[in-house]
Symmetry: C2
Subunit: 246 residues, 2 copies
């Protein structure tokens, strides 16, 4: 990466350093290649570790670099466009190939979800855990919260445990008339369980997509999906085209 | 915030610390209140600075804390729901009250935008800079890229400089038949010019919304809007309701 000395640059060093590294990534590094360690990099560019770290952190936020557990900092591939919103309203499907059914349980949802569902503070609801896989990689971990009242047809017999229970809940949902849905996207940090599923470090920045499914004049289910922010670009619109956005 | 000693907790200290601080924020701190400095906090909880910083960083990602230039770390207000996508397709309007026209220039767009527009590598296009204000706060800085070919009616006379030029470009756009639009949302880091407009520190995490406007069978304009990730939750859907999501 050369031995450019940045001491004399007027603008904040880390910002110029960012540009220099970014150009080096384009010209000298291959996707997946592991960067030299911070000490070596700082020495090469003649900057303090703190300055280097600032530049690396921003390149990570922008999807140019990836920090991976037990691997180090590698050159990231271009982000994948992952279709999230479309004009066609659909229930999360039992046979949705994009999502792998991982588990089905009954739990008390977090306060934010309780607010959306309007369920009792300590009222357990059906929780379906799914994993979204795209291009062979896990891109999102989802928790779908479904109040018992939304799936009255669900007999105890239909809902043993694990994925069988999850599938039963999704089947029941599909029998409801879906009146609409809306979504919110916000920044979050990966919870440890999601982090493991997504092969991220706990606390890594993620994109949290909260979807409310409307039926029977109210919110019949709420999905909280944690998307990898490093590898994913969430696409909205009729095209939902992957290539176009990558 | 008490003097809980965390030395004996089995789970990763920062994660338990995060919970403890989070509860303290709910019970003992008011929105906007400034936290004690890192040294004092670390001492109170009996943890290393690094552990404390890890917990604070995650609480910042989750929107509980805000780091503000020249102020320090403060307790963040609940995030605002900011409507981004709706089913109604509209050109960015001249008289759109949510957006303040800030400038109009001609520049060569970044490579990613050139790819969408299909313009020449060194071909300058009209660039309209707008600032989105919500609840009296700047929430997004937008750059709208419009190739000359999309606004053939725009005479040099209509387009002097600054906001007048920006307004002329938007007026011309509105005369085109909009065939559709799509959006992509991804994580980014605040460029210094956007950071200043948004009252953020350069490099802070932001949500970058790229919108492609389709007309005449192609991409007639591309908008790249940088939203504050700390105060905003982007909402998509017919409701686009602020309250619901906050």
């Amino acid at each position: 990466m050369g031995t450019t000395q940045l001491e004399t640059v007027p603008e904040p060093k880390y910002r110029h350093l960012k540009t220099v590294i970014s150009e080096a990534l384009d010209s000298e590094f291959a996707v997946g290649e592991i960067l030299p360690n911070e000490r070596d990099l700082a020495a090469r560019f003649g900057v303090a570790r703190a300055t280097l770290r600032q530049a690396l952190e921003q390149l990570e936020l922008e999807g140019r670099l990836q920090r991976r557990r037990g691997v180090g900092t590698t050159v990231a591939p271009p982000r994948m466009g992952v279709s999230v919103g479309s004009t066609a309203h659909n229930w999360p499907g039992v046979s949705d190939t994009a999502w792998e059914l991982a588990d089905g349980t009954r739990e008390v949802p977090p306060a934010s979800v309780v607010r959306h569902l309007g369920t009792g503070q300590d009222e357990p609801v059906h929780v379906v855990r799914r994993l979204r896989v795209s291009g062979g990689q896990p891109v999102a971990a989802e928790l779908l919260y479904v109040p018992a009242a939304s799936v009255p047809g669900l007999a105890a017999a239909d809902a043993p445990t694990g994925t069988a229970r999850g599938a039963a809940v999704l089947r029941e949902l599909e029998s409801l008339g879906l009146e609409g849905e809306d979504r919110a996207v916000e920044l979050g940090s990966a919870r440890s369980d999601d982090a493991k599923q997504l092969d991220r470090l706990p606390g890594a920045p993620v994109l949290v997509v909260t979807t409310r499914f409307f039926a029977g004049g109210g919110t019949a289910a709420v999905s909280v999906a944690t998307y990898r922010a490093d590898t994913c670009r969430l696409t909205f619109g009729d095209t939902g085209d992957v290539e176009v956005h990558s």
